[in-house]
């Protein structure tokens, strides 16, 4: 059984919940009072992760931290089709790694801006917003060209990969950090496709694709 040290409002924890839901894998969630309790910084939690951050998973005694590393592990172990982490195809694997690294960038800009606005983290907000827009412009252009090739996802696979899931929540909640997606139509079409993946779940702050926000 997988244990996930989780905070519902964390994008990085949501990435794991999303993949586990899509793969239909059961897990136990241990809520961490990230805010306002700062429980991840407590001595007790640092016995689980000395770096003092979430998410962390423990799978039958095997412990792993860092959002994108956990996605890699979960997809490798629990997706027998091998499509979410295409390890057997060197091209797709390279692209997946490349876009996972891109997701580090969106996390450190768009999601950091969200932490600044929501929780008052002391970051230079203008630098974060500019950085996020730069990445969003690149992503939008990339996805636009993918669509011309009849492809729907960030890699050239006909199937989404964990790279899509790693980037998705940073993008989807960007408006909480004051980063509008108005100018990125290809990104908006891609987020709609992600939200229609079978097994998709929302995190607080998102709405399900079909229903949308009430007016």
């Amino acid at each position: 059984m997988i244990t996930l040290y989780n905070w519902d409002l964390s994008v990085n924890c949501y990435k794991q919940r999303l993949l586990l839901s899509i793969l239909d894998v059961e897990y136990e969630s241990i809520p961490v009072d990230f805010y306002p309790g700062w429980e991840h910084k407590s001595a007790e939690f640092k016995r689980i992760n000395p770096l003092g951050h979430i998410p962390v998973i423990v799978d039958d005694g095997y412990k792993l931290r860092d959002a994108h590393a956990i996605l890699t592990y979960l997809a490798s172990k629990y997706d027998p089709s091998g499509r979410w982490y295409p390890a057997s195809d060197p091209h797709l694997l390279g692209e997946t790694a490349q876009w996972m690294l891109f997701a580090e960038g969106t996390t450190n800009t768009a999601s950091a801006a969200r932490l600044h606005v929501n929780l008052g983290y002391e970051f230079d907000i203008e630098v974060l917003r500019e950085g996020a827009h730069e990445l969003f412009r690149a992503l939008d252009e990339h996805l636009w060209f993918r669509e011309r090739e009849g492809l729907d996802w960030v890699t050239s696979s006909p199937h989404p990969t964990i790279a899509d899931l790693a980037i998705f929540p940073d993008v989807m909640l960007s408006e909480e950090g004051g980063i509008s997606r108005l100018d990125y139509p290809a990104i908006r079409r891609w987020t709609d496709r992600v939200r229609r993946i079978e097994g998709f779940v929302v995190m607080p702050g998102m709405f399900e694709a079909a229903k949308g926000a009430p007016k």
Partner: protein
Amino acid sequence: MTTATGHAVCTDPAILNQWYAVAAIPEISVAQVHRTRLLDSSVAYSVTADGECLAWRTAPNDATVTVDASSQLDWLPTRTAFGYLWMSVGEPPPDVFEVQESAEPDRRTLNAATIGIAVSAPRAIENFLDMAHFPYVHPHMLGEEPHTEVADYTTELRNGELWAVDCRFYQPKAAVSSTEGVMAEYLYRVPSPYCAMLYKSSPGDAERMDVIGIFVHPISEEFVRANLFLCLLDDVSSDTTIRRFQQTIFSQDKPILENQYPKRLPLDPRAETPIRADKMAIAYRRWLTDLGVTYGVIPA
């Protein structure tokens, strides 16, 4: 009015002369200077090693690291109430309004969250007072289709506060300790323009009610930090579990609030068709008009 550096600050006496909760006391690191803004003014606060709360006006680029009560500063009035540090940049009443329940020894009093929201304070309050959005924004928790009907209720003024009484709404999971759906009973109370509370039937006590408050800290006319206050009858759930429930609800409201345009609340009754003819929203807007509020609103 403008500050020395030339940016405009709030001059609305109805809003200026109020107390605002700026931080939950357990979350304030002792003997450090914390900077924020209140009604566009740059301010700072600190809790000394002996627990004294200090607040003062600062220059926007202030870098003071330590202060004590003998420092020569532009001091601001402070109070502590229900676990929060309150301050004012105007001439506030002698005390923060009362929440009698917070003195009951068997209650859990805690800050569920302090979250920044890009919205005006009165929009945040109006959303807090609204029941009709429950089934759509908080499905499976505070509401559930097809139970979308808001039964009729009454609004009234009590000692200068705005109240809504006899509110009822079907809730599948009214609180973290709920085990079944209930017809939850609600009372709403607005003791000051940017603070609101609700009293709702508690799964843990047939006689008394849970108290949930939103104490809005207006940074500017269109950005706030909302403090979510809980005073619950629940001796079972952990703080983490309770916060988790409320934070989820809060983050569901956030995108709705941030997508409202205009961000300021129009007080003219004809400005926005009350979508659901919500009585409390109309009463709140009229009450703000009667108080002469101009900050964070589009006056009628």
